[in-house]
Assembly symmetry: C2
Homo-oligomer: 259 residues x 2
Amino acid sequence: MDKPLIFITNDDGVSAKGLRAITEAVRKIGHVVVIAPETPQSGKAHAITMYSPLHLREVHREEGLEVYACSGTPVDCVKMAFDHLLVDHFPDLTISGINHGSNSAVSVLYSGTMGAAIEASFYGRPSIGLSLLDHDTDADFSAATQYSMEIIKKVLASDMELPLCLNVNIPRGPFAKIKGIRVCRQNRGFWKETFIQRQDPRGVDYFWLTGDFYNTEPDSTDTDEWALAHDYVSIVPIQVDLTNYGQMRSLAGLFSERS
Amino acid sequence: MDKPLIFITNDDGVSAKGLRAITEAVRKIGHVVVIAPETPQSGKAHAITMYSPLHLREVHREEGLEVYACSGTPVDCVKMAFDHLLVDHFPDLTISGINHGSNSAVSVLYSGTMGAAIEASFYGRPSIGLSLLDHDTDADFSAATQYSMEIIKKVLASDMELPLCLNVNIPRGPFAKIKGIRVCRQNRGFWKETFIQRQDPRGVDYFWLTGDFYNTEPDSTDTDEWALAHDYVSIVPIQVDLTNYGQMRSLAGLFSERS
């Protein structure tokens, strides 16, 4: 069998250590094309670039590996792959990451890593967002890479129903400390910000956005937050229907149709 | 009873016609605080600003109306309202829009308008994203404003269960042409891009992202796309649990926990 074609992107940028770690590992089992942002794009969510054109720059090419940098967002990178560079030969799998920092619970909404993974799943091939719970630019990705490869190989060998998009978060620490993999649901909660207010040299106020996550169900044991707090790798399968079906009936009463 | 405090934001920027139209109408029923982006932020989804500080500029102030411009994204504007400017007096309702252009179906994922509306709903007050199916900067917002005000008044007078976040899309055309309001689910489908490739004066390729929406269930009659195509205002109640519950069991089989 031919080696699979695997597309890799991220939101930390084309030179991030987490991207390099997973790229080196995935090369052993497949042909790899990387299109990653030129610059860090954390917190860019599902954003696309509408007001400026995009550039695509070849960074590196050798047998079985092509690396490009795109001037846009993580979702732009995915569109550049499926609708331009790989339009005639779709990848068998998309990987987004490994992200420096967690994307569990509601962080999936803000995450450029997961924005890219979700976008890739629209093209009818599986996608996996990978995140390590360590923001350090020089974080140790060895255990995360080992778990990621286990998940990647299982997804490639499976015949899971499509669309398939996985939000994978991996605890810090050595491989032996991690207890295994748990399939979870997204933990409920929200981020509350504290703005750090400063003055620039001309006396103008500016603000840095800094936030804390509030877990509104700390006692639930079937969530990604619980799994990560208990040294498990969490996997949440992702879908994109945001309809709140439970509210449709009461809303229909409030907004009854005119005859 | 005191007039309600209503917070308004958008993604088209502080000087957009749709923002001005809804602000003028809402002023008649409440005190209004506007924090809108300095520059157009369409397609910014749920993005937040992490790598640069934010600025907040007072644009206008008169009895019952304060208008600010924020240098960040629509979601930044919401955080600036709830975690800074209005932290001691939360608004009774958040309105995002009226957007120039539709945000139906999967566009809810890319939309800065809906990113802001979703974010606002995290703070325990209702939020409404409003979009007119007309991208024109000089679009006619008169019918859209009339329908929006009907919806806003009903939400303010209701005791709907929280969180409450509504994705409202309004067809083009005069008020008499619109048949009424329908509560819908989010239409399935995806955007496929066509990149327009050009060369800059120095011979470097660049790309403009342009897309078309593919409706994968054109015959369904309970969707927002159907409602809009049949001259109804669509309202989709929005939630943010992206868990694909239907896939959890088969995934758990694939990734069985280690003992």
